[in-house]
C-alpha cells in the first residue's frame, strides 16, 4: 500500500499503469481522470505528513500494490447487500458515499446488520465538500471502471489479496466517556427529542442548552471495548430536537465525552505500534475543525479528511485506519 498526494497528471499515469486506487479530492479533478481500476470521492481536505491542509489542486491516492484482483461498482441505496455479496474470498472492501445522501442514511441504519459484514474489513469514508461551500456544492462518488459519478450511491472497491497478506482495520478515537449521567434513547435514528438521562425522561435539546454543554464533544458509547462516537449536528431548544451526524441506537448507553487535553500527544500515542504513513487513514472534518488540525501533524497518519468514517459501521470524530501486512516467509 502506497499513499501520495498527486497532481491529476500523476494520478492519470498511475491509472494508466493499471494500478488499483482509492482516490479522494475535489470534484473537478476526479471528473478529469481516465477510466481504470479506481473509485473516488470528493473532499477538499487532507492529512499529510506536514499536517492537515486544504488543497484544490491535488488528489490523495492510495495504491493497493498488494492486490491480486479488484472489482468496483456504485451500489444504489436499495442495493447495499451487494457490499458483502461481491467481495473476494480473501481481501477487504473500500467504500465511499456522499454526505447528506439517502445511501449514507440507509447504510448507517442497516449496514451494521448486513450478513457477514464483520467477516472482512470494510474501510471507507463519507465524501464532503469545502466547508465554505456546504449547501452549494454536492458531495460526489466515482466508479473509475465505468466513469460513473453519483451524488447518492455507495462506491465500492473490492480488493483481493494473496493468502500471505493480512489486513488490519482499527480506529483511533481520542474521546472517552465523561463522568456525566448515562443517556439512552427509546428509538434509534439521526434525530432525537426525548431520552433518558440518568434514568429520568428528559428533552435532550433543552438539557444541552440549559446546561451550556459543549456540543463539539460527541456522545460516546462503549461497544465492547471500542469507543464509538455520535456527533452533534444541530441542537434546537425551541423545537426540542437534536440532529446527529450518525444514528443513535436504542439499548445503548451513551455519555458526553470528556475533553481531549492534547491532540498531538494522543495521535502520537496511537502510532507507536507501527508506521502510520504505511496505512490508509481518514480523519473527521470535525476533528480537523474543532482540534485545529490545519498545519498540525496527526502522528504521521495520512489520508483524506472526511464528513464521516467507516470501519465496518459509520463513525464520527474518529480516525479510521487500514493496513496490510505479509506473513514472513518460512
Amino acid at each position: 500500500m502506497k499513499n501520495a498526494l498527486l497532481s491529476v497528471e500523476e494520478t492519470a499515469a498511475l491509472i494508466a499503469s493499471r494500478a488499483i486506487l482509492f482516490v479522494s479530492g475535489p470534484e473537478r479533478l476526479l471528473r478529469s481522470l481516465p477510466r481504470g481500476n479506481w473509485i473516488g470521492g470528493t473532499t477538499s481536505y487532507f492529512m499529510t505528513l506536514d499536517g492537515g491542509e486544504s488543497r484544490e489542486d491535488r488528489l490523495f491516492c492510495t495504491t493497493f500494490d498488494d492486490a491480486v484482483n479488484a472489482r468496483m461498482a456504485i451500489l444504489p441505496p436499495d442495493g447495499l447487500s451487494g457490499l458483502t455479496e461481491h467481495r473476494f474470498a480473501h481481501g477487504f472492501t473500500c467504500i465511499v458515499t456522499p454526505a447528506f445522501s439517502t445511501t449514507l442514511q440507509r447504510y448507517a441504519m442497516d449496514g451494521p446488520s448486513l450478513p457477514g459484514l464483520y467477516n472482512q474489513p470494510v474501510f471507507g469514508w463519507v465524501a464532503g465538500v469545502h466547508l465554505d461551500r456546504v449547501g452549494q456544492d454536492v458531495p460526489m462518488v466515482f466508479d473509475g471502471a465505468t466513469g460513473a459519478a453519483s451524488s447518492d450511491g455507495l462506491a465500492a472497491l473490492w480488493v483481493a489479496l494473496p493468502e500471505s497478506a493480512e489486513v488490519d482495520l482499527d480506529i483511533v478515537n481520542l474521546f472517552a466517556p465523561g463522568e456525566g449521567e448515562s443517556i439512552t434513547f427509546p428509538q434509534g435514528g439521526f434525530d432525537a427529542t426525548d431520552c433518558l438521562i440518568g434514568g429520568v425522561p428528559t428533552n435532550l435539546a433543552r438539557y444541552i442548552v440549559e446546561r451550556g454543554i459543549d456540543t463539539t464533544l460527541p456522545l460516546v458509547a462503549d461497544y465492547a471495548g471500542a469507543m464509538i462516537n455520535v456527533s452533534f449536528q444541530t441542537v434546537d431548544a425551541k423545537s426540542g430536537s437534536v440532529r446527529f451526524y450518525a444514528p443513535v441506537m436504542p439499548g445503548t448507553i451513551y455519555r458526553l465525552a470528556r475533553s481531549v487535553e492534547d491532540y498531538d500527544a494522543a495521535y502520537a500515542d496511537a502510532t507507536r505500534e507501527g508506521s502510520a504513513a504505511d496505512m490508509l487513514s481518514c480523519n473527521c472534518i470535525l476533528n480537523y475543525r474543532y482540534a485545529g488540525l490545519e498545519g498540525r501533524p496527526t502522528g504521521g497518519f495520512v489520508g483524506p479528511v472526511t464528513f464521516g468514517e467507516f470501519a465496518y459501521i459509520l463513525l464520527n470524530q474518529t480516525l479510521s485506519r487500514l493496513s496490510v501486512r505479509h506473513a514472513l516467509a518460512a
Binding site: P112, S113, Y118, N119, P121, E166, L169, D170, I171, Y223, A224, G225, A226, M249, P250, G251, T252, A311, Y312, I313
Partner: protein, 100 residues
C-alpha cells in the same frame, strides 16, 4: 461446581495453535450454541477484554438485538458462534471470552 468454565477450557488449552484453528473451523472446539457462555456474553453479564474491532462490533450489534427482543437470543448465539468458526482473525479474542 459451575457449568462454566469447565471441560471446555481444559480442552482448548491442550490444543496447539494450529490444531485450535483447525478445530474451530469445524466448530468442534467451541461451546455448543446453547451453552450459557453465549447468553452471558450477549446479555452483557460478562465483558471480556476483546481486542479485535470486528468482534467488538458484532458482539455489540447482537447485544442491541437481544436487548430489544430476548427471543432472538438463540439466533444471536448461533450468529456469534458462526463468526468465530468462520474467521481465524477473531480467534485471538477467544482466550478472553473463554476465560470467564
Amino acid at each position: 461446581m459451575t457449568d462454566y468454565p469447565g471441560n471446555y477450557d481444559t480442552r482448548v488449552e491442550r490444543l496447539s495453535a494450529d490444531r485450535l484453528d483447525s478445530a474451530l473451523h469445524e466448530g468442534g472446539a467451541l461451546p455448543s450454541v446453547d451453552h450459557q457462555l453465549w447468553t452471558r456474553l450477549l446479555t452483557g453479564e460478562i465483558n471480556p477484554n476483546i481486542k479485535t474491532l470486528a468482534t467488538r462490533l458484532i458482539i455489540t450489534r447482537l447485544r442491541i438485538d437481544v436487548a430489544k427482543d430476548r427471543t432472538v437470543l438463540p439466533r444471536a448465539a448461533q450468529e456469534l458462534r458462526r463468526f468465530f468458526t468462520d474467521n481465524k482473525f477473531a480467534h485471538r479474542d477467544l482466550t478472553a471470552i473463554t476465560g470467564f
